[in-house]
Symmetry: C2
Subunit: 313 residues, 2 copies
């Protein structure tokens, strides 16, 4: 079903009425009510969102995987010796147990290796070209069409309510920046993610940022709050994730003073998307699910809370 008319249905037309939507609307009403007991100044209205599995689909593997594998395939065609490295062989052969064994960090290492030597401008062009044509293997849509419509509405609603919205992702920062402004309305300077080290150099008198084959930051778990502090310098008052990789960010948000809202998207919708939680070995949801009530986390059911998942293709 397509989303409703925002003029008659309010600000989150793709969300069903229920506890999750009420928690969001109530929180925003409280922190924006001037003179209210829980008013938060606009400058402090920081909202942080995970990306993979929170703002777009991460099944059967994070989009980053397909992106890195395609580049690795091209490089291995030119240099077959790459196939003999165990990590690379796992990716080239789509060997799921081996890919899972190397985990999200393996994904980052592949990314760091295959894009080394590119300038930021070259990478951006390459990433945008790839995103413009690459489709999800099962759903048949462009990856960029796998962003969740209810979340795009939520981001816009928060910004309209004076919030500044940030992405805090385990995925590569530059790949997300290549589409986040267009798809989420989030500019590059509000994207935080995993990153490689870079070097500034003059190439034919033009200053360039060159990617190095070395990880700078793997933005997962306890590193997320540390990177929020580095990039934002303020504790978010709203955080949204979908796995235990987001738990530190959620607790960082929820244990601060004043009003707080921490949300976790539960993928329980095998009909419209996928149903998974503790069994997704690359990015499991266990503690944040089992202890949601203790930690003050609001669970969002994709099946129950979302009227629509994707926008009309």
């Amino acid at each position: 079903m397509a989303s409703g008319d925002p003029m008659t249905e309010g600000p989150l037309p793709s969300w069903n009425d229920g506890a999750a939507k009420s928690a969001i609307l109530d929180f925003v009403a409280r922190v924006t009510k001037e003179g209210g007991a829980e008013f938060v100044a606009p400058a402090e209205r920081i909202a942080t969102f995970d990306n993979d599995g929170t703002l777009w689909c991460e099944q059967p593997l994070q989009v980053q995987f397909f992106f890195g594998r395609d580049r690795l395939t091209a490089l291995a065609d030119a240099d077959p010796s790459l196939k003999s490295r165990e990590l690379f062989g796992a990716y080239l052969n789509h060997d799921m147990p081996a890919i899972v064994k190397f985990g999200k960090k393996g994904l980052m290492e592949v990314g760091a290796f295959v894009h080394a030597g590119m300038t930021e401008d070259e990478f951006r062009t390459y990433a945008r070209d790839w995103l413009a044509t690459s489709k999800h293997p099962k759903l048949g849509r462009l990856f960029t069409q796998l962003t969740y419509l209810p979340q795009v509405e939520l981001l816009a609603y928060l910004r309209a309510s004076g919030f500044k919205t940030f992405i805090v992702s385990g995925g590569g920062i530059d790949l997300i920046r290549a589409f986040a402004e267009e798809r989420y309305g989030i500019p590059p300077e509000q994207v935080i993610g995993s990153s490689v080290k870079t070097r500034f150099e003059l190439q034919e008198a033009k200053g360039e940022i060159v990617k190095l084959p070395e990880l700078n930051s793997f933005d997962d778990r306890e590193v997320k709050p540390a990177n929020i502090n580095l990039h934002i310098g303020r504790r978010p008052i709203l955080a949204f994730g979908n796995s235990d990789g987001d738990l530190a960010m959620l607790r960082y948000c929820l244990t601060g003073p004043g009003p707080r809202l921490g949300l976790v998207l539960h993928h329980d919708d095998s009909a419209r998307e996928f149903a998974y939680d503790r069994d997704f070995k690359l990015s499991p949801l266990v503690e944040a699910l089992d202890r949601a009530e203790d930690y003050g986390i609001t669970l969002v059911s994709m099946k129950g809370d979302w009227r629509t998942v994707f926008d009309a293709a």
Copy 2:
């Protein structure tokens, strides 16, 4: 002389008419003229400013020095063995040749050591208390009153013209964040600087960011463009510095496509502030001065281009 009336004098009342002011006004007019050949979309209007010596006074030493030394003095009172470390001894004894020998990186190392173990909240409180009471040894003003009025006007003018203004400093990111919003109108998420590594941990069930005694990034010279890429993800179209530590940032800005403006403040005003350039060993201005024309850098003379330096105390 106090600044003039902006209603009759235009947007930069503390700037004298001249080549530098004209270059700024002309640049802003060109990039904001809709339909013009050099129009730049608001999202791309990124302006980056060095802090020490560009936005506030850095003589006889960067404010960071006094800040770190005061904390080191307190720590050395409790643990006199610290005095035997050569770097710390230099600071405790105000031994200028030794301080210069250790350079800006020594400054960062002192900062990393003396604040280790503090949480971000503790540091912010400590820094704000220090800034609220600490005065410049010669000028007799609070350090926070040593911000340059013409630059505060320029930052406001740029923001009013759709720019997003960032600080990109060799100084410690958290000290700058403790006053930049109030004094410059620049929020924490638009401050980039040198930083230490941090760790997220739960202390009595509250999530805290704890400073570690290890440098994460020394944001000087070629590291500035790399950190601009990490934090902003866009090449600035305007950059403003005052030393060779800013040269890589200036060239990164100036060698991009489209309209660009790179400015260097020349401290040539011994009557109202200080006169120095290539002789300031901690942060010399040599190449950016000698090759300004080659590189397309606009020099700003404090003596000639600024009607006022500091605001009325």
